[in-house]
Symmetry: D3
Subunit: 307 residues, 6 copies
């Protein structure tokens, strides 16, 4: 199972679970209700420590409970905020596709890497607007997600080319924009995405081709603001070489990192449902849009360290 992928589904499920849990509680004071919801939120968050979208969903819901001034208000806020989060998450893809499609230069040849729901939706929307002429899709070794992307773009009618990952730089002179998704975005605007993304971003940067990342805001990782580093999962060697080949080179160690990190300097725009921003704005999204708050951290920090 790829934990980080399907970030949208994880986030929406978390919001729904909090809603169900809270609705089933029978507390008589606001304080008790809050305490229990915080406890439940903490448990939920810890189930998947690497899923960036999870704490964002939980916080979205919990913060409105915290802002409530009575139990009734809090209970209503819970349901409302959970529903709101779910609706927003669903609409986010549509909004990103709309914003992103406008950002693509007219009559563009685009390149994409991996299979991102938002990047595909954006490309198809741009195609429908007549802004895309042709697409290049990479293979995406070792799991070949490029097959799905190529089929999706081609089925939408886009003249689609399929290339090995190594050929990205070869074709870069013909490309007008590269579009990818993201698995996580740091407070510094770096993007964690499928292995190979940073290499293509580097080649795009070299050729001055715009590199556009499309992603819902709940992929922005608030912990990175506190210095946390996003761990890069290393997956099973069998994804790369099957057992027969492995048997032929018994002393060779297969390394299979699932993601890499594209520096902010190689990214021209991150398109979110909050608009298309430069990567350096990630902090503002985390603070103002997702609602993470330094003052709060500092209070927690001081409490933790006084104990």
């Amino acid at each position: 199972m790829m934990e980080i992928r399907g970030a949208g589904r994880i986030a929406r499920t978390a919001a729904a679970e909090l809603r169900e849990h809270g609705s089933s509680l029978r507390y008589t004071t606001l304080e008790d209700f809050r305490r229990e919801m915080h406890r439940a939120a903490a448990v939920l968050t810890e189930t998947r420590p690497t899923a960036v979208s999870l704490p964002n969903a939980v916080r979205f819901v919990i913060s409105r409970i915290d802002a409530s001034e009575s139990l009734e208000e809090a209970q209503a806020a819970l349901v409302e905020s959970a529903d709101d989060f779910i609706a927003r998450s669903r609409q986010a893809v549509e909004m990103i596709a709309e914003f992103g499609s406008r950002a693509i230069p007219e009559d563009s040849v685009i390149m994409t890497h991996c299979n991102s729901e938002v990047a595909v939706a954006t490309t198809i929307k741009a195609w429908e607007k007549g802004r895309v002429r042709e697409a290049f899709v990479t293979e995406v070794r070792p799991r070949n997600q490029g097959y799905i992307t190529a089929k999706a773009l081609s089925d939408a009618g886009i003249p689609t080319n399929f290339i090995v990952d190594s050929a990205a730089r070869y074709f870069m002179r013909d490309i007008d924009a590269v579009i990818t998704g993201a698995d996580a975005v740091t407070a510094g605007g770096a993007v964690v995405n499928k292995i190979g993304t940073s290499q293509i971003a580097l080649a795009a940067h070299e050729a001055r081709v715009p590199f556009i990342v499309t992603t819902e805001t709940y992929k922005f990782a608030p912990g990175t603001l506190l210095g946390e580093r996003i761990p890069i999962e290393e997956r099973a060697p069998q994804e790369v070489v099957d057992d027969e080949i492995a048997g032929m080179m018994p002393n060779v160690r297969v390394r299979n990192p699932a993601f890499d990190v594209t520096p902010a300097a190689y990214i021209d725009m991150i398109v979110t449902e909050a608009g298309g921003i430069p990567p350096g704005m990630a902090y503002v999204i985390i603070r103002d849009y997702l609602g993470w708050n330094c003052g709060e951290w500092q209070k927690n920090f001081l409490i933790d360290h006084q104990e």
Copy 2:
């Protein structure tokens, strides 16, 4: 058939064929002998117009005939020069491995791409001298030549890691030198090599990791001095996707370029049997080592254009 690969064998065969052909001739004047040898050389060269090593081999042999002052001398020169070329070509790999192995920093982790005889020999020689600690080998899609390279290095005892092509930049911070072969070198010092090479060279350049190309001098392409561009072969789509997959995405066009061009600015050293040179020195190799000569071209040019 991959024309350009096996450049060494093509070149040695050409030298041997010229020697056999010339030995079988029964001319009585130097002029007739020369004319026939030039004709045979032209025929031979045209059989494989994209094989850079072929004109270099032919020129090596023919130029000594041209320098001879009698039929006997010319006939002896033919045999001697063909034998000399063949011997030199065989020794070149050994010399390059020796020179290249000294150029690798001590206690290095090296990365290589594709399966180059000289790059593998250089890496193993450096390992034997204790200069290599570990190796990273890429998969080399679509034909997976990385399997052969990984096995060769691992069999030589080198702790060897195997990665997908997309992961090259991810591991670059751990690499001390990248070593590859070459299919052709232009007069400007650019290197034509397996698709993906230029992307790795770019990542090495970004990280300031030395990028070392190992190649016999007969891969230097004299025609590029006259402005010729080296054509990049595009190979069959079946190498990239098998028929079953292709059937699932019927409107997708597979593009399969076999090589790409690494600019001279990303190459730190080209190690040849004439020593390790900066890429900007390619012209000097073509002129002084391979013996191609501007005056001669000019003469030919003028004759062609007077007719």
Copy 3:
């Protein structure tokens, strides 16, 4: 007519027109008044779709009406906000000149391109403070606005040099700061300005000479946050070659783009009446200073797409 130029006048006129229009209305409910003002605002905005300052002026006025809680309050807010906008716009140039003049290194030789009211005011203010030693002014083909700028700086007493646009890089080693205005600023911090600006910015970046843009905040383009691209007007060929010359080269097509786009990476500081900011802060200016708001867009977006 150059639509985008004179952005200040366009904006102030729009504010005044809204004020006059609203003052003449005789509505009895807040809702009716609001609806009519929104309609009028939309009509006004559409008259000049490429004038970035127009929607900013309109929004400044309308947002205070929207925040009013009674008809009387709204009517008062209209007059007050329109007057306020006009006053601020007038004072902005003075503030920018003050802030910008401090940002120029002491004893500087400055270069400017085109004829920008704020850039000229900033340079003269810096001269008055003794921070400027000499100025270089470009010709600004095809309309030669450099004449006006050179005269303005020279008349202010600044030792002024006049050069063709092509000579900007030649003199860059002697320059301590480049100062220009802007026709528009994108959410990513790129600056749209007179053709040639980006070329000079590139040369300044190459030589590490600070490139300072001076501009009122109403030049920041909120639509770019939603992915919109700023269209570059192409003007009449007669500006470039007169008819006599054109007649001598009948098959030559004259291309005459009026503006180009300078990437944020080449800009050191954008000086606005809200202070001197790095270009990456454009989003914050659009949101917090001009008052454009993602939540609002999202609401509009959702409404548009539900219909």
Copy 4:
């Protein structure tokens, strides 16, 4: 005396002095109290015009007085805000060390320059977490503060190397992160720090080694937002050459700038008690965290210029 150093102590003293002064006052109206406190604040600020932390401390305290609605509230706010500032300042180092220590890659060799309390605390914290393997400390001519830093890191148990300033680039290939403090941070994210810092940052940037600045937020210089330039103090020649040497080269002029400016583009992260931010976020810190406010400046500006 080095004015800017000991920025924390200066700031805390200023807050305490305001508290004492205000507590001793016997005013009967809020207005009088406010006026006197503003006067006292202005006097205090002017005592050390180059101490960036001073206006930040003063503003922190004064702004809460300004927000008070009665004399009693204002007097209480004074004491509370001064105490709060002092406590925060003391906790800031601890928080930065915590955040910064997480941002250092695992098993890192770090380099530092000069003797910064926060940089040393961060390095030691990271060492305690097992994230640091080794440290390189520069000499820091002319005053050799590197001795203190080397001793501090070594005493904490970190294997520590000591090098001359000139050797920083030589060892950069072995470094995983550079960590320094700051004397001031501009609104554009540039960092003023001990002479030599920018040279090391340049070498780190060249080698793509993360360059991390650790600093309390009160080092951020609000005046730079208004275009002010931070003056670089030039100190006594005797720090560089003693009198005996100076006597041997009588016509040589010793230049001894105490600080230099590292551009934002060479800085990967600025770690503050408000989190680890990209340098481009400095404006947001100044505005939202330190509470400096454009509207206010504009009001002041307009008043100043109306008189």
Copy 5:
């Protein structure tokens, strides 16, 4: 008069003059003949100290006299070498056009600056071979040589666009190769050419568009190998502004440098009649092709300094 332009004519005239002068002499010893020819050569060279082609032509002729072993041989060598130089010079343009046209990528949009005989010939030759699709020609202020170039390319049938110099970067994304001539080439491979060339080369370098210089070898400046710097002529202000305009801005100083220097790092290939070389090879052309010789300089140097 533009001294450096028309370099070909100057060179050929010099060769012819030496031939006429030498043929008219009636010396009876080789030594006398040589001495007189050297004297005449020196006089000739000094007539136009900035014409790079002049010493190259003179040296071509004189060196064969110096190599002669009898008076008769020397006199014959004089005529032969002068004729040879003149013929070569005439054929050089044709050869460069042939080599250069091959170096242009297929189906290219090219850009050129100023009016260079070889650059135009190369572009037309490439058009005839079907390698050029479209051309962009700059205006070339202040003397508008772009008119001539645009007409020449358009008359040859090439779809030609005409733009102001400032628009070069704006269109660079559409360009596949930039082609210019040269007024001089230094031993380091830098190219002196019409003002504005270096700015376009910079923009091409930024966009990774190949920048190709076409030039006869006699433009290579041997003196630069001895550290000489090529002086940049500054021409009359009237070329830039006519008297009427000048009268309107009386205190403005017009600066009008005729040339600028494009660094070798921005040049991909210099196409000469000796082939297409990387700019770093300029020294080899000067030494081996033009025949300038370090030993000789050293001898002269030592003699000069012994006296």
Copy 6:
């Protein structure tokens, strides 16, 4: 003792020793004489394996013996070539100063690092020609050779500034050219020089200030053409910290590399007695000027490997 420094003296002494040794020999056959001289040369070379100038001096002398066809000729050639080498070496500094002084832009402020005889001579020569306005001299920790350089330039009348090594980038904006010497030059054009040189070269490159290396050709290291790496000597810690300081930080390890390597890409010109060349030309100097020859190496290589 610093082995590599005083390279000129080492080289001249070696030539003289070979001359004395050869003159004292009483062989009767050319073959015996040659064998003995080769033996002596090998012994001499091995005495100081890291002195680059030694094998160059030895080869200069020996190669003429090898070219001799009789014992008498060889003996005469020995004396003549040794004397010639010594004379050339002495004149080289003068020639370099002459060439280099012309390469410095007019009215320059120059910076230098360490104490190089040729760099100082070049700067003074340029001063005498009126091309230098001012000089900046670094301290050169740990051995403070900057004292000697500052005194030398100041004594020559040049207005001279003295700065710590860390301040080089701070003053770079005011510098027109950096001039240093070299301890060795590789076949790739990299320069080995005093620790800190590469850092200054990087800062010069960043600011596009010309970086000029002055060096006799016998500093070019032929072995690097065969892949050899120049070892960087690490010197005694006592040079960096005296025993008292060292005692205060007992667990700190002092690292004291004497040299670093400046990449060719940061060097604009290497001025030698053979002229001012781009660094990429080092191979040609080694081969054509110092007389090292690939064919010869290949022969030796083949012999070594056949045994």
